[in-house]
């Protein structure tokens, strides 16, 4: 198709055939609303079902079915979870890894982005080639594991922080944002004798809070949700984050449940209650930041998409 498709396809002949259009459109709208309502229920109800189950007492756990509210409201499952020191510990590891990880990631990536935002930076083309390469190639699971081992990061808390200090993709988004900052601001600061570092900390960073918040939120969600790092590099249970702890609980519950099916006896296990409550606890922080995420992710994605 050489010509603009819209011009050929908007040929009036295609459309001027029937005369009951408003009715057809009303049917379309109604079907559409019904379909999307069902879709919304299919997404949200199953999540709510888990919340209802987690607040049901272990005796009624297996009779929850499709209820909207727990029949026998109880916080015993949560008591069980909070009485387990290993789950507490895992929760704190997750908080620590998220807070430290986000702070260092944003600071380091922003620092590099500020340097790269200067067109006259010597070696800039070479750095760009190096960076684009990281987006397309990777060594894969095993060579990366061997690297972590030789760096002494196995079974160390720092394996959560150091390998995710920098991301070229985030760097691009920040760099494009920094370029939009008026030069005059930096020039006048320079006249007053401010160095590069002072300009970066006092002018560039404070002016970039929206984009910094976007990067921080996404990196925070990644850090909070990540269990693969622990699965690959951590064998010391004291260093497990909440997601890895949850993974262990799920695997155990699953093994017990499959045993039950084999013997066809259903016994309520405490591990299932713990699993449900832990799922909810591991999800609460995400739901709390979700409104902020939603506010930022559209604008953040647009910055990345338009400029690259």
């Amino acid at each position: 198709m050489k010509t603009n498709p819209n011009i050929t396809e908007l040929n009036p002949k295609v459309f001027r055939q029937k005369n009951q259009k408003p009715k057809e459109n009303r049917v379309f709208n109604i079907v559409n609303i019904i379909f999307l309502s069902l879709f919304t229920i299919v997404i949200i109800y199953p999540i709510w079902n888990i919340v209802v189950k987690s607040f049901s007492s272990p005796d009624t756990l297996y009779h929850v079915g499709l209820k909207l509210w727990p029949e026998d409201f109880s916080i015993i499952n949560y008591k069980l979870v909070f009485n387990d020191p290993t789950i507490w510990n895992a929760f704190m590891i997750s908080v620590l890894k998220t807070v430290i990880g986000v702070f260092t990631h944003v600071l380091l990536t922003a620092m590099v982005a500020y340097g790269m935002s200067k067109q006259n930076l010597i070696g800039r083309n070479f750095y760009t080639i190096l960076g684009v390469g990281t987006m397309f190639f990777s060594g894969g699971m095993i060579p990366t594991y061997l690297l972590m081992r030789s760096l002494g990061l196995l079974d160390s808390f720092w394996v959560y922080i150091i390998p995710s200090l920098f991301s070229y993709y985030d760097m691009l988004i920040l760099m494009n944002f920094f370029r939009e900052i008026p030069h005059s601001l930096e020039e006048s600061a320079k006249m007053d004798g401010a160095g590069v570092w002072t300009i970066f900390m006092r002018i560039v960073l404070p002016l970039s809070t929206p984009v910094l918040a976007t990067i921080a939120l996404f990196n925070g969600v990644f850090q909070w949700n990540d269990y693969m790092t622990a699965k690959l590099y951590i064998s010391n249970e004291a260093l497990y984050p909440i997601q890895m702890k949850l993974y262990e609980i799920i695997v155990q519950t699953q093994a017990a449940a499959n045993m039950q099916t084999a013997t066809s006896v259903v016994i309520p296990t405490t591990s299932e209650s713990i699993q449900l409550a832990t799922i909810v606890i591991a999800t609460v922080p995400i739901v709390l930041v979700y409104p902020f995420l939603q506010k930022y992710f559209l604008s953040g994605m647009m910055i990345g998409a338009v400029k690259e």
Binding site: N6, E24, I43, I47, Y62, L121, G139, I249, Q254
Partner: protein, 305 residues
Amino acid sequence: MKKSHFGKGFRAQLPLQMMVLPGIIFMIVFCYVPIYGIVIAFKSYSVTDTIASAAWVGLENFRIAFSDKFFWESVVNTLAISFLKLLIGFTAPIILSILIFELKNGWFKKVVQTVSYLPHFLSWIVVGGMLLSWLSTTGIINELLVGVGILDQPRNFMIEANSYWLIAVLSDVWKEAGWGTIIYLATMSGIDPTYYEAAKMDGATKLQQIFHITLPLMKFIISLMFILAVGGLLGSNLDQTLVLINPLNASHAEVINSYVYKVGLAQGDFSYATAVGLAVSIVSLILVLVTNKFTKKMNDNKSVF
């Protein structure tokens, strides 16, 4: 002459260079050093070796992989799950975004979007844990299927190997379909509204508008997303697999990535696992290039790359 200029210029921007330096070191260490590590695919590496000192064995590891029945089993599972994901998971966001775009009611549109993006931000561990609860013999899915009479008896889907592909695909669609609409909705909001006004004037129905305006204008972004999806055909979802796999469904659940994990890290056969990973990356690259060539023809010879 030139060199001293370079040196002088470099020294003048030393503070800036120092800001960039950590990023450069990071990329070399965490991306390019592991790429060098791929050479162990052609060596016989054991824990006592260094990458450089291990003995070369040529293509021996690849030869073993291609005659390994479990490797092929994981390839079959990966392809089956990926093709189903391509079929359902790729088309779902396109249809969904068109339907959302057609919504006129502001608050309802907002609710649908807010709810549909949410599962993307839940980890696979959380979704996996929920899924096991929904699919259990007392969970909502059995409740529903028995309730409407599709099943007589609750079934434990997680121990049925034959159900696994569908479970993996549908749960992935549940989690990601809403999020996948963002890119299409962004494209659609950029369409000139006068096209629709003109069409309405000529009496075009909604469906005609969708097929003659919206879809033709989304051709480029759809083919771009398609190429990306094809590139990911052999890259299976390790997070999802590890949380849903169990000894009873492993024959249908083991995918290439989880096989690399099992052989490499759980059993310590580093060289063999790296060879499997490398072979898969090469095939993926070829797939992307071939798809790009095909979609180029569809897009007036405009190549995505």
